[in-house]
């Protein structure tokens, strides 16, 4: 009786059953902690009776400033999860030697390390990037809004849905144990029969489509929504870097969508794209995923370069050195980043002409990057340096990025790559690039722009302590990996023999992680202390750093419509020049059209989440339900002709006057 019941349910619920709940203590405690976060948040909101407020002000918002903040919050939370993963990885590698097999089983270790890579790239780096872009780009180009607010919000919620799906994998089922890019044939059904790879596929598929939508929105926003007078060559460099990055997004992410879909078709419909038999070709997967994957690296790093460019100029109190060369360097990087992807698989066996071509292209891409590094240095040269945390991150970045970059040029030589491929040398290289290039950049950006949105600075002393812990920890964690790579240690090792003599270096790397944890704790402490002291010495005006670009011209907090009067721009560094003239704007206010709130972006993404979850577990009726929710959400939205409202000029005037008298900014 009970047996037939279970089998009926097995059909109804696809592959899903209770046996997929976590059983071992580490996964179970992770799952409980993970579930505790949303439950605690929900309870807190209920207790403080804030649901209505949350719904109205945040969940349904179309305001890029709020969407940006939501991106950053999600990215920070996911960063903590990615950090927890890496603590397990480093602990395992420090102790799992000889007869000791460490804290994780081999398959669990592979899941953890796959989750670390996937989460850090897709949900931390991408989240921070889109967060800062949403916050800053409209302000810097003098726009009241993005080009497609609804599309933008939907993009965020799809990102959220992807994030939710990857975390659900911790609660029920398992996660991909095939590395962050899930190479076949290992990731094919035959060798990875559980749901792990499917979670990976659908999480990235959904988040990837969200990124694509956001990318389209920002390309069009920057091209079409710039304030009158801001020619392309007068844009702040951050906007240029975002335009470059988003151009890569719109042309690279479709490749990812296809690659993931083909793998999913192999796994669910028994197709033979990448299988080892029946005429499949797994090398095509590697080719395609890197045709997306290499541009992806530049997608992440270009906006961070933009942040550094802003910071270099403001904190040196000089205009940016070599603006035009910076712009050309960005576009050289954009084009070249599409022509280097083979360097990720020199060892797969292509002929020497192919390897030589891509090796040379890889070396050439170092040139525009070098141009940018020198420009930052020349900007700082003879500047009146304002030594605050953002500048600390910038200087650390210049040093670390150069070391990591030189290691990269080294590996661009195919014969050398044959020695270093898949070794910890490579792991050290790309962490040096991504952590210093991307993460430090967004840390710097957050420290730089935080007061713009909240009206108080972050505590400087704690910020500096956090910086030093991070830097020391980071170097301790990754310099040993270069050496280990030379000694022959490969990536993703869960166990090694004691006679290899690797353990001391792995222990040093683990100590590095301890320092990084200290850095993260100090950052959290910095945030708490800063909130605590927000009305004291940390309180600042609307332009605490003597900024150069338009966002600093706005009052803090920034009104929903950003600019009560659209600024007049005729030069680069528009606000810097406006400050020198001391011009008082007496133009009359005008009516402002604003997008209405809408829950439908959330509904569409909710449908996608249901779809993805059901696809993972083969619950076909639920797949259709998810699809219908998304499609009808979209059609319902398209029937609404009144998606905007008009804020009359008189209301704008009143709000501005209230601000002027009450705020005293």
């Amino acid at each position: 009786m009970s047996h037939s019941l279970i089998s009926t349910f097995g059909g109804f619920l696809g592959r899903l059953s209770l046996k997929w709940l976590p059983h071992d203590p580490i996964t179970a405690s992770g799952a409980i902690m993970l579930a505790a976060v949303p439950i605690a948040v929900a309870l807190f909101i209920t207790y403080t009776k804030r649901w209505k407020w949350i719904y109205r002000e945040w969940l349904t918002t179309q305001d890029p400033k709020r969407i940006g903040i939501m991106y950053i919050i999600i990215a920070i939370l996911m960063g903590l999860r990615g950090l927890a993963d890496v603590i397990m990885v480093r602990t395992q590698q420090a102790v799992s030697v000889g007869s000791n097999h460490g804290i994780l089983s081999a398959s669990h270790f592979q899941q953890v390390i796959s989750a670390h890579g996937t989460i850090m790239i897709f949900f931390v780096a991408m989240g921070l990037m889109f967060g800062i872009i949403n916050l800053i780009v409209p302000l810097q180009i003098g726009a009241r809004d993005v080009a497609f607010p609804f599309l933008n919000a939907t993009g965020f919620w799809l990102f959220f849905a992807g994030m939710a799906l990857i975390n659900i994998s911790l609660l029920i089922g398992d996660f991909s144990a095939t590395g962050w890019l899930a190479y076949p044939p290992l990731s094919e059904l035959k060798y990875s029969p559980t749901v792990g790879v499917d979670y990976w596929i659908w999480s990235l598929e959904i988040a990837g489509i969200g990124s694509l939508l956001a990318g389209i929105n920002f390309v069009v926003t920057i091209l079409k929504k710039r304030v009158k007078g801001m020619k392309l060559m007068k844009m702040p460099l951050f906007c240029w870097s975002v335009l470059g990055s988003m151009s890569l997004v719109i042309f690279a992410f479709p490749i990812l969508t296809v690659t993931l879909t083909l793998l999913a078709l192999d796994r669910t419909l028994g197709m033979h794209f990448f299988t080892s038999g029946h005429g499949g070709n797994m090398m095509m997967y590697v080719n395609l995923i890197w045709a997306w994957g290499h541009p992806e690296v530049y997608i992440l790093v270009l906006p961070a370069f933009g942040v550094y460019s802003e910071i270099a100029a403001v904190f040196s109190r000089k205009k940016l050195f070599g603006y035009v060369s910076m712009v050309w360097a960005i576009w050289a990087i954009v084009i070249l980043s599409f022509i280097v992807w083979l360097h990720h698989f020199f060892t797969m066996g292509a002929g020497s002409n192919v390897n030589a071509f891509f090796g040379i292209m890889t070396m050439i891409i170092a040139v525009p990057t070098g141009v940018k590094l020198f420009n930052w240095l020349f900007t700082m040269y003879k500047g009146k340096l304002n030594m605050k945390t953002p500048l600390y991150w910038l200087i650390a970045f210049v040093v670390v990025f150069t070391i990591g970059g030189m290691a990269g040029v080294l590996m661009a030589v195919p014969p050398i790559d044959f020695q270093l491929h898949n070794s910890l040398f490579l792991v050290a290289h790309f962490h040096m690039m991504i952590v210093s290039g991307v993460l430090f950049g967004y840390f710097a950006g957050i420290a730089y722009w935080y007061p713009k949105f909240l009206g108080y600075r972050l505590n400087e002393r704690l910020g500096r302590y956090a910086f030093w812990s991070w830097l020391v920890g980071f170097l301790l964690a990754f310099i040993p990996l270069y050496i280990l790579g030379f000694m022959g240690a490969t990536r993703r090792l869960d166990h090694y023999s004691a006679s290899l003599g690797w353990q001391p270096l792995f222990i040093v790397a683990a100590i590095g992680v301890v320092f990084i944890i200290l850095g993260v704790v100090l950052q959290i402490l910095q945030l708490i202390v800063s909130i605590w002291q927000r009305n004291g010495e940390l309180k600042v005006g609307h332009d605490p750093w003597d900024g150069r670009t338009l966002e600093w011209s706005l009052p803090t907090p920034i009104p929903a419509y950003n600019f009560a009067r659209l600024p007049e721009v005729s030069t680069r560094d528009a606000y810097w020049n406006a400050k020198k003239v001391k011009y008082i704007d007496r133009r009359p206010y005008e009516d402002i059209e604003m997008p209405k709130n809408s829950p439908l972006g959330m509904v569409i993404a909710g449908g996608a989440l249901i779809f993805g979850f059901a696809f993972v577990w083969h619950i076909w009726w639920l797949v259709i339900v998810g699809l219908l929710v998304s499609v009808f959400g979209l059609i319902y939205r398209s029937m609404d002709e009144h998606t905007e409202y008009t804020l009359p000029a008189s209301d704008v005037k009143q709000m501005e006057q209230m601000r002027a008298s009450g705020g005293g900014i």
């Binding site: 079409k224 719109i250 992410f253 479709p254 490749i255 197709m271 033979h272 794209f273 499949g280 499609v631």
Partner: protein
């Protein structure tokens, strides 16, 4: 245009320009989306080209495809692309009935195309040459099927569009959307040129 009259005040003109630019921005954004879709198809084409000889003992394109059949599909879609353009012209001339008629013809031709394609799929599967047979057939079904999926979405959109025009007329919003729908439909025809050439014609030559 009737909006431009000598007595037009400047504020009204500003508002009109602003609205016009807003619509132009949306249409441009849709164009950007279409460009991303081109890259999506390019990835599928690359995969197809790489796997085209991986028949694994199964049928090749030359033995499987019928050229006259593919030509019929092509002509149906090409004509529908043309009639879709005529629907756009009728809409811009504010002729509601004419717009609806052209859209219905377009829909009929699009549906014909889809039915032709699906029955071809059905025939192959019934012969035992499904997507499970070989890498080549996986690539074929996926490339052509993705195009078919786009056609299906286009047809669904056309139904919604016709209902919208029927109920609310040819207002500013429906004109904007008709422009985007016609772009989408022309784009699918452009993709089909390459499917026709690379999958069917090249396939026949490989014999």
């Amino acid at each position: 245009m009737s909006e431009i009259s000598p007595g037009l005040d400047l504020a009204k003109a500003d508002q009109l320009i602003e609205r016009h630019e807003k619509d132009a921005t949306t249409v441009f954004g849709f164009w950007v989306y279409l460009m991303t879709d081109c890259v999506l198809f390019a990835s599928l084409f690359a995969t197809f080209a790489v796997l085209r000889n991986n028949t694994f003992g199964g049928p090749s394109g030359a033995t499987l495809f019928s050229l006259p059949y593919a030509l019929a599909e092509t002509l149906a879609l090409l004509t529908s692309s043309f009639t879709c353009g005529l629907a756009l012209l009728a809409a811009q001339a504010k002729r509601k009935t004419q717009t609806l008629v052209w859209f219905m013809i377009t829909f009929g031709l699009g549906l014909t195309f889809l039915v032709l394609e699906l029955s071809e799929f059905h025939k192959f599967v019934a012969m035992g040459d499904s997507w499970r047979r070989s890498g080549f057939l996986s690539a074929y079904f996926t490339l052509v099927g993705t195009h078919g999926l786009h056609i299906t979405i286009g047809l669904l959109w056309m139904v919604v569009m016709m209902l919208f025009i029927y109920k609310r007329g040819l207002n500013r919003l429906s004109l904007k959307r008709i422009r985007m729908l016609s772009m989408f439909w022309h784009f699918l025809d452009v993709v089909w040129i390459f499917i026709f050439t690379i999958v069917y014609l090249f396939g026949a030559l490989h014999a």
